[in-house]
Symmetry: C2
Subunit: 694 residues, 2 copies
Amino acid sequence: MSDLLESALNPRTVAIIGASENIHKIGGRPIYYMQRAGFSGTIYPVNPTREEVQGLKSYPSLASLPEVPELVLIVVAGEKALEAVEECAATGVKSVVVIASGFGEVDDAGRAVQQRMTDAARATGMRIYGPNTHGLANFGTGVIAGFSTMFIECPPQDGPIAVLSQSGGMSAMVYGLLRQKGLGVRHVHATGNEADVTVSEMAWAVAHDPEIKLILLYLENIANPEMLARTAEYARSRDLPIVAVKAGRCASGQQAASTHTGSMANEDRVVDAFFKKHGIWRVRDPHAQALAAEAYLKGWRPAGNKLVVISNSGASCVMGADAAEDNGLEMAKLSASTQQAVAKSLPGFATTTNPIDITAALLSNSGLFSEVLPCVAQDPAADMFFINIPVAGAGYDVQAFARDTAQFEALTGKPVAVAAWQASVSEPFRQAGVATFENEGDAVGVLGQLAAHTAMLRETITHWPALPTVDIQPGTEQYCDEAQSLALLSRHGVPVVEHVLCHSAEQVRAAFVKLGNNVALKGCSAEVPHKTEHALVTLGINNIDDAVSVFESHMAKLTLLNVKRAAVIVAAMSRGKHELMVGTRFDPVFGPVVLVGAGGKYVEAMKDYAVLLPPFSAEQVERALRGLRLAPMLDGVRGDAPMDVDAFSSIAVAVGKIAMAAGPNIASLDLNPVMVGSIGEGAKVVDALLERQG
Amino acid sequence: MSDLLESALNPRTVAIIGASENIHKIGGRPIYYMQRAGFSGTIYPVNPTREEVQGLKSYPSLASLPEVPELVLIVVAGEKALEAVEECAATGVKSVVVIASGFGEVDDAGRAVQQRMTDAARATGMRIYGPNTHGLANFGTGVIAGFSTMFIECPPQDGPIAVLSQSGGMSAMVYGLLRQKGLGVRHVHATGNEADVTVSEMAWAVAHDPEIKLILLYLENIANPEMLARTAEYARSRDLPIVAVKAGRCASGQQAASTHTGSMANEDRVVDAFFKKHGIWRVRDPHAQALAAEAYLKGWRPAGNKLVVISNSGASCVMGADAAEDNGLEMAKLSASTQQAVAKSLPGFATTTNPIDITAALLSNSGLFSEVLPCVAQDPAADMFFINIPVAGAGYDVQAFARDTAQFEALTGKPVAVAAWQASVSEPFRQAGVATFENEGDAVGVLGQLAAHTAMLRETITHWPALPTVDIQPGTEQYCDEAQSLALLSRHGVPVVEHVLCHSAEQVRAAFVKLGNNVALKGCSAEVPHKTEHALVTLGINNIDDAVSVFESHMAKLTLLNVKRAAVIVAAMSRGKHELMVGTRFDPVFGPVVLVGAGGKYVEAMKDYAVLLPPFSAEQVERALRGLRLAPMLDGVRGDAPMDVDAFSSIAVAVGKIAMAAGPNIASLDLNPVMVGSIGEGAKVVDALLERQG
């Protein structure tokens, strides 16, 4: 275990301020739980009205304890809670858990009180868990500084799973769902308002517990992504998967989150990009976390995404194949010898390609299962197996099917999931240790998750050892003008359109000729960042006199807009075939964020872009593009040549480096459009806009 | 009940060819089931080797029966099955159920035998169910002409649900899932290979059973959409919802379906459009059918899509709000008076806006539930309620919560769904008659389904009383040329771009001037339907000599392509701002199908289009467009004026009428692009291509 948080997860002494004799009260339950869970340290109930609490000597105050406790659980509420925190900090307590609600999640006054708690703790190095929390529970050490009723509903059993949650309710729910499935859980910690300690920090601590094989997180916001990123990196190094729920996915959910744990909204696409980058698998809800837990604990790490579907129902074969496609899996192409072997076992009307339809003949011959499974076990095309049993029970030898399946799983060494909704069918499979689900959607969904999560965790981590020095043209305006923005990109090796900044008709004439008699003219001023909306962009001018008259018209418009420094960019018309874009934003939580996708006027409306967090590789840019709706364009459709994706990806990487080097000095930088030519023709930034620090 | 299929669903006499004493054999089970289900007619076992079967006199042959049975269940296989079918037809039997597999789903030989069965039946008007089926079961009449083991696993109870399925396994599974939930089921019929009677026809029959309140279908293909459409129309007229699974959604699933029941593939987007048009709700699998059944049977038909979320966990409020957005629901905006009333009941730190967070204070005050619920019951903003209880059990008065919720449901008269995963919580709610789900995804998903399905069923059905007469230019080529295609559209009132078909330079010069000195030139020949791929489209020509030289170049290219009749279209350059498209295809199963969506070169690659089945209204076209990715464009983004959607929709309706009138005479007709201007500016077809009957 990491030393961090040791005083909360493995203290020798625990005091409860507000201790109760009643084990159904918040101040009574932790004492009951700790005694039941075999906590080997000392429990100090603090309650001035009693001599004894639950058979333990009770003390009137913190000051009256025989020693300074390492961990103090504060059950009192409101102003008293603040006083207790301050007293604990002053006394040298190492950690406090504050249960009471009514602080940062309510209003400014509450936030102020909560801040005073944080300040008091910070002054002495004490750590705070909460307020507004169900508390902590470590079934490895028996330290239960929490009151969840769920530990009565579902009796604890130590095991390889850690549950870390901002919400107490969700920590209890995930714990309960896991216990219901018979899985052991060691850590169940809720951080509530996170006045100090966050879920990320707790994840770091429990990731260092060598017994932990799976970490489940419930988050409503990500306050310190660096810590979570560091945890994820460490977890990956020891093959410890992390599966997270990040609630508040949509606008109304985010609003609800802000009144629940006082969470700030994170932009959801950025959250997705963050999880993806760090190999954290995101699921929708605690049910999905519990659903996949057994499969993770089996240590399954599929080598690929090829699935074999086997069923005794043709319809379930069809739906299994549909479910595979829904979940990003492909149907494995079985070898001819496998198919021959399968065909020998099955009746003539059965299907021996994948999916394999054992047919209802299983009813009259229970041996079909044991005959067919070994035929496919060693087929190299198969990465995973799904056995769908929608109908069985009376008349079927289900015990034999379950035994055969368990043997098959041992034989193949690859993931094997079963779907069966009848208890009479699923129970024998579960007892045989086979991962068994209610329906094909759940079963194939978990297999798909394992395949994709494994692939994600095996991705090479990109490092950028050296970052450029980024000099942003100084200025008081919010934006750099287009010429300045293009110049900055050009200095960093990004190919930009050939252009000349013109202040006079004479310069325009010279530029027109120099740029090949086919140009675009664009009004250029830091004060008018959105040129199009002022009709300051004119394309495809191929007559020199037209160029001059457009120049004059643009200059006149800029004058009308009261612009101080007006000029016009004359740019060569670009030959690129496709308009893409690269953008970067500085996110207050996640730092620089890069967008790549379809360019043009309608980027925001069409939303065909992907979010990348630097550092990232050119390959990752390409993979991101291949996940977009524009993906078919990359390879060329309707007679187009394939696009020069490499050239575009290099630009995106360069922008990522600029963004990371500049940090908050660049609020945003948009390259739109980036004209991308056919393969070998390169890519070129045609327009750019840099926004200075906000 | 409709008279159709009466001889199979309600016969007075049933014979079983291949009857067995053993109730675990396929020939024994139906007799056992019918006797147990109280069938009041006569059962005739046919088995030459026995005197008696299951206490009934057995007959050596069909010919030896004292009367011609109405329904015959044929349990024998292979060639014997064919002989039995032929004998039944010859004898005057009205319906036969053929259980055996190994016919149309296997190979050409099997298909031939199956066809002989069909021919024999058609010759005398006998109906066939199957082959390759689990058979029929009507628990209303006790006629169980099937062998599913599921009727042993889950004892039958007559009720308001009908299950109709191509797959026997799926009919059994849906039946079992419904019975597991305590719901009664009357009809469970499987049609297998559908040599004659289809699921659609059975649906028509059971829709006329007045006791039936919900029809569930499992389909692998839709063979006779007219019958299903007619059934859906009738069902809608008596407020009888239909929920369907159509498996084989993706390529590998469709392939699997063809080997299961010998199904032909339907294009999945067309299937979706068909269901949508006819008010049939499509779900993924039988679990989803069973999940929503109770809610349908409650008769809930939500007036709108506004949801109120109530929970004792803040996190569950957040996830409830997320789930609402996932499922197309909006959070209802509660009135000020509702919020005040809620606030009076709850602690200060609770949230009284929607979602309503009762908070963990529920643990200490079980009355909060009964205090809060009535406050929101009458809020007019609410269409539906969702109560999420992720944590309760020991210490909570769950019985009271359940009672309060049932009273609340009666009081509000609107849908109320509960999510609770702990059996100790969900059971009391279920016993109180409250629709209770495992998790918020399921609960809110079902509410969203009800809201959307109700809205679908309330849509006005479009009728086109008069269709135009469509005269397609006669010709031997597969395609009409562009000029002919545009002319056809123009004759039907569709606005097309101003253009002149030119055969000489002189004509081009005249056209250039006539069309305003800014034109496009396009090679025009029925033999070169895809002009762009031959560089036969030149846009934006604003010089008369350029026009002539482009004309000559296009004519030369056409000559090189060995075109018999070459010409060039000179067309005015269109001013429309957005490129949309309308297309129609003649689908061999569904007839004319209309596509509307984003136009341009990349229609197939970008797939931003919707499928409509005629007849449809202009409003339906607009609604379809609003479901596309291009939707934001319709209202204007980045300073654009809104598009003239009405003008576009009128074109789509006109094309729908042309397609419906022409039927298979038009294989396809593509209007791409249709240039759509700002509101009031209209829309114009710029290019069109008509494909004659294939």
